[in-house]
Symmetry: C2
Subunit: 211 residues, 2 copies
């Protein structure tokens, strides 16, 4: 699949997972794509935990529902009603999950390019996630990033050491169909803004939308 | 270009920029790819500042050299000698730069999916950067992420408000050739690790390299 096609077809999947099997070779290619991402000082500070175990996923799902309720409790009126329609995860329906973590100790002590920006290692992990997402899209798989969780809860669920930070819980698997419009837009949560609105020239304060 | 091909060919470019022109249409496609990234709560919290001005780039370049010296001062022996061979930016040689920022206020006050993980918005910005990087690769352009800078310095250079965080300074432009091996590996700074070493199954502490 062409790069631009994958970028355009990529969706954050919740409801469309079928639960059908994912071939080990395909999973290997997707993880290989993630691992080929750039990283600060070539530290490659990511780890991937492939979770298929039903009990682990059920435990995480329950936690996600609590966090969903916590977020919902802070909403009122139209926001509360709109959010009620939004599905925030496909943990149980997807074939498997991949938890991506950040290890600040990898490649240390002097990580080239991280002395001025401590978060640069965290940024690298996200680049790997986007590679994974696009490769999965090219493999006709859906990916859904779940962020309704407390990091410490996930640490204890997967025996992640305190020094390592969970960055994402990604649901992965075949989908019955691809949505063309993102869920949150279809459900009326928010509309996408045009790229001109976030493009500036020479200075942050100049050129937005009019240059 | 195929997704996997772009992922494999993508490099972090320093020395190979030619400075040749970049077509506005091509730049538009690359920024469009970045803007098509997933984002927490569909907040699209990124901004892109296209910098061509020679004085701005010269000012940034000077700052980068100071930060380079600061990092070098902390190294000794083999590390110091190896780092001496490493070029950390292509700010002056590349055609233009794109500074990518994060605005936490975008899509607020209640950003869906960010209540438990404050950094989720920052993660979204990085996903956009990787889209940009792969699209540029497909356009036969090189991208080099410079991270030898202080965020406040960059804020003041580009009139970025205090509430907005600079995430990346990306050099962009045509290149005379693509390196197959990353600079830091060629120069002996660090070697890439195999993906098996960072892949685990069911628990973080299980399966690394042996599963």
């Amino acid at each position: 699949m062409d790069v631009y096609e994958a970028i355009a077809m990529r969706r954050d999947v919740r409801a469309e997972f079928t639960g059908a099997a994912v071939d080990d070779e395909v999973l290997g290619r997707v993880l290989g794509a993630a691992h080929a991402a750039p990283s600060v000082g070539m530290s490659q500070p990511w780890d991937f935990v492939v979770v298929r175990d039903a009990a682990t996923r059920a435990g995480f799902y329950e936690h996600v529902q609590q966090e969903r309720a916590r977020f919902a409790a802070g909403l009122t009126g139209e926001r509360a009603a709109t959010f009620e329609r939004v599905k925030v995860d496909g943990v149980l329906e997807s074939t498997l999950s991949i938890v991506v973590t950040y290890d600040p100790a990898r490649g240390g002590p002097a990580v080239l390019g991280r002395h001025a920006i401590a978060d640069a290692g965290l940024y690298s992990v996200c680049l790997a996630i986007q590679n994974l997402w696009l490769a999965a899209t090219a493999e006709n798989l859906g990916v859904g990033w779940v962020s309704f969780y407390q990091e410490d809860h996930l640490r204890s669920l997967l025996d992640i050491p305190a020094s390592v930070r969970p960055v994402a819980w990604l649901c992965l698997g075949p989908v019955e169909r691809r949505q063309e419009v993102p869920d949150l837009e279809r459900h009326g949560w928010r509309s996408r803004i045009p790229v001109e609105q976030v493009t500036h020239f020479e200075r942050y304060t100049r050129g937005d939308g009019t240059a």
